[in-house]
């Protein structure tokens, strides 16, 4: 609410001054970094559990695997004077994915495709210096859908998401995003080139496991979430559930370093 108030105050300060404004479209690339401890514990416990049975083991994630291109559309304006205000509000969509897998000694492959889809409302406001450079405070709120599709690929190349192996399935979860950061942009006519850094706020809302929701069937007898501790998942179901040892969606809250270009469509001088 404070953020809305802040933006409203900035808009009111800017009224009456010369500015350029209009709808915009941005494209860019976001280098994301998320928390890998949960998913990497799965890799390590699985590799250890099946030691000697695997030709290729799980590779740990570094945290930047869901880095992705994005686009943003909305309305933007900045002062055309020596020092003034800049502002923008829009809607952003990011989509990232990563494939990871193992090979059993038999030649059977098991793999997962981790995918993120972010839907964000973005708002920024700050100072425009001499109409060339904007320095903005940036906030974004929305949701991140995380899905993990675990499949088995047989020696003939056919892929199965069936119930013959318990981990096979389509897992998904949703986590709320509230990112805070700053953006610097350089304006050249209707274009501006920007760089931005944002930090995802943790534990908002509290963590939840990745569970099979749409895909749930009676074959996915509990536990139904994607495990972080594979050892207890495979040997001590009760302990696993009691200790809530699934991968948490909150792990996938990203800190982002983003770069891109914005084009103001139908730029109006006011």
């Amino acid at each position: 609410m404070k953020a809305f108030l802040f933006i409203a105050i900035l808009f009111s300060l800017n009224s009456g001054h010369s500015q350029v404004a209009g709808p915009y479209i941005s494209i860019g690339y976001s280098i994301d970094r998320f928390e890998t401890a949960g998913i990497n514990q799965f890799h390590e416990t699985f590799n250890s559990f099946w030691q000697g049975e695997l030709t290729n083991e799980w590779q740990n994630l570094k945290g930047n695997e869901l880095s992705s291109p994005f686009f943003n559309i909305g309305f933007r304006g900045h002062s055309d004077e020596k020092i003034g205000l800049s502002w923008a509000t829009g809607f952003q969509y990011n989509q990232g994915s990563h494939l990871n897998g193992i090979t059993w000694n038999s030649g059977v492959i098991q793999q997962y495709k981790l995918k993120s889809k972010d839907f964000l409302w973005t708002a920024q406001a700050g100072i425009a210096f001499d109409k060339w450079v904007n320095l903005d405070f940036f906030i974004a709120g929305g949701g991140r859908n995380i899905s993990l599709r675990y499949t088995t690929i047989y020696q003939n190349g056919e892929e199965s998401i069936g119930s013959e192996y318990k981990l096979n399935g389509y897992y998904d979860g949703l986590v709320a995003l509230f990112d805070l950061g700053a953006e610097i942009s350089v304006n050249v006519g209707s274009f501006s080139i920007f760089g931005r850094y944002t930090v995802g706020t943790k534990n908002f809302p509290p963590s939840r496991g990745l569970v099979t929701i749409e895909d749930y069937s009676s074959n996915n007898y509990p536990p139904t979430d994607f495990p972080s501790n594979y050892t207890t998942y495979a040997t001590d179901v009760v302990g696993y559930v009691e200790n809530n040892e699934g991968v948490k969606t909150d792990d996938f809250l990203p800190n982002r370093l983003a770069f891109g270009v914005t084009y103001i469509v139908n730029r109006q001088q006011k």
């Binding site: 559309i73 059977v108 056919e158 998401i161 069936g162 119930s163 389509y170």
Partner: protein, 162 residues
Amino acid sequence: MRFLFSIALLGLLLSCNKEKKLLNRLNDHTWNIDQSIRSVIDQDGNETIFEDGQNAGTISIYDDPLGFDGLKEAHFIYTNYLGQTSDFIATFYVNEDATRVGFAGALCNSPFECDLLFTVSENKKKSQVWTAYGSDNTYFFPPDTYNANKVDHIKWQLRLSR
């Protein structure tokens, strides 16, 4: 540029629901099981077919007769190469990314491990290919659901048309 802007806006408004699309495609139709193939996949990826049945039955999919919104029911009739017939009615469902279909509680009366699940190998308007795989010599519920380090796997493929 205005055109691109409009396309981007349109893209945002139109969301694609694969699950619903597949359910709508399958619903209100009786699908003929044109071919039922059972085979063994060995370590080299070779397949040895031990059943190849033609016109092996039908699968009818329709709205839940009790009127539960969005719920589907299926009538599955299948005759194997030995002449044994499976005939059951079950709740039918599709997963979120439309890659697997399930018949709830089709295989037994227990609340666990009784759904009949197929991977959707091919998804076309008038033809479908559904495949179930198994570990060793058990199709759906092998005693070891964790270790995929098996020499042989078995496969049951249904080729459907309407």
